[in-house]
């Protein structure tokens, strides 16, 4: 096993361990975890057998393994960007509801309807 392989696997295991420990488990998040586990398995598989990436790419009609990796990365990037956009919009709505409550309570305590 060469140095870079050991390094990458150690880093991956570390990230995975942290991820699984930090997230509070709920059913809605379960599928994301499954995907992530599959990703880690695939990553370790490819680190150990780098040539397999080329073979998979050829089988899918892509020139090089590195190209396939780039396509995959692009998709993953777009997905996470959209995901965080939607999340931030949802957060914004929660914030609006909260701030509105504060504003109304403050106003009601100052001005009484007559």
């Amino acid at each position: 096993m060469i140095g870079i392989q050991i390094f990458l696997i150690v880093v991956l295991v570390f990230i995975m361990g942290n991820f699984l420990a930090s997230q509070n488990s709920s059913r809605t998040k379960a599928w994301k975890k499954m995907l992530l586990l599959a990703f880690f398995a695939a990553a370790i598989f490819i680190i150990l057998l780098p040539d397999s990436m080329n073979r998979i790419a050829h089988a899918m009609g892509v020139g090089r393994g590195a190209d396939l990796l780039l396509y995959g990365l692009t998709m993953a990037f777009i997905f996470t960007q959209l995901n965080s956009y939607v999340k931030s919009k949802q957060e914004q709505r929660r914030l609006v509801v909260l701030a509105r409550k504060v504003a109304i309570l403050e106003a009601l305590s100052k001005n009484s309807h007559d």
């Binding site: 919009k89 609006v96 701030a99 509105r100 504003a103 106003a107 009601l108 309807h113």
Partner: protein, 228 residues
């Protein structure tokens, strides 16, 4: 009718003009709810000085959020029967409000919307803005299935039923499209009434940037995807 009507004015950095607008409205209506949307100038002080009811967002949330806050505040008064959304920059006319309230009071409609393109022409409106607003109306009519001539007018008058069910969630300027969509979803009985908008140098400078049309269109589509 005067004491059953709530005028709701979203205010964001309008310290220069909001006082005069409130004083003018106060001559005819008792309840003027001003939602200060986290202004950085002294709008809040001007509102209090002019006798408006101040409801103050702790942070800036957007005009749509301010309108919803004003509506929810007004609903706390069980006697509130009519709700008017009114701009802080003085571009709306109180005569129009009275005419719209009269239509609403007849009871046939739930919501009466001001239109700049129905009969009377908008004063001093730039041709480019006119073209853009007409395009916006086509977009809104297409997505909502309603037949309106002006979807982005800030002057609206509606009854308690609408106030309770409107539930504006789009915090920024996309709320105008959202209100039209809500009218379609809830089957509110609506009517458009011709109103005059006076574009002063002040309101023109404060008005929405043309580029905002892109933001609004995008937000409306995203809202579809996210859902409520």
């Amino acid at each position: 009718m005067k004491s059953e009507t709530y005028i709701i004015i979203p205010v964001y950095n309008e310290a220069k003009v909001v006082g005069d607008v409130i004083r003018e409205v106060k001559k005819h209506f008792k309840h003027v709810v001003c939602v200060d949307d986290g202004s950085r100038d002294n709008s809040a002080a001007e509102i209090v000085k002019a006798g408006g009811i101040l409801v103050r967002h702790p942070i800036n949330l957007g005009q749509g959020a301010a309108l919803q806050t004003g509506i929810e505040y007004s609903l706390h008064d069980p006697k509130a029967k009519y709700f008017v959304t009114y701009d802080a920059d003085g571009q709306h006319q109180l005569d129009d409000v009275r005419a719209m309230l009269k239509v609403l009071d007849e009871g046939e409609f739930d919501i009466v919307i001001g239109s700049r393109f129905l009969g009377k022409e908008a004063e001093n409106m730039s041709p480019f803005k006119k073209a853009l607003l007409k395009m916006a109306v086509k977009f809104t009519n297409r997505t909502s299935g309603l037949q309106l001539t002006d979807a982005h007018n800030g002057l609206r008058v509606f009854n308690r039923h609408v106030a309770q069910r409107l539930n504006i969630t789009m915090p920024d300027f996309a709320h105008a499209s959202e209100i039209v969509e809500r009218i379609a979803q809830e089957n509110f009985k609506y009517k458009e009434v011709a109103v005059t908008i006076v574009y002063t140098d002040y309101s023109r400078a404060k008005g929405q940037s043309i580029f905002n049309a892109v933001n609004i269109g995008f937000d409306v589509l995203i809202n579809r995807i996210i859902g409520k």
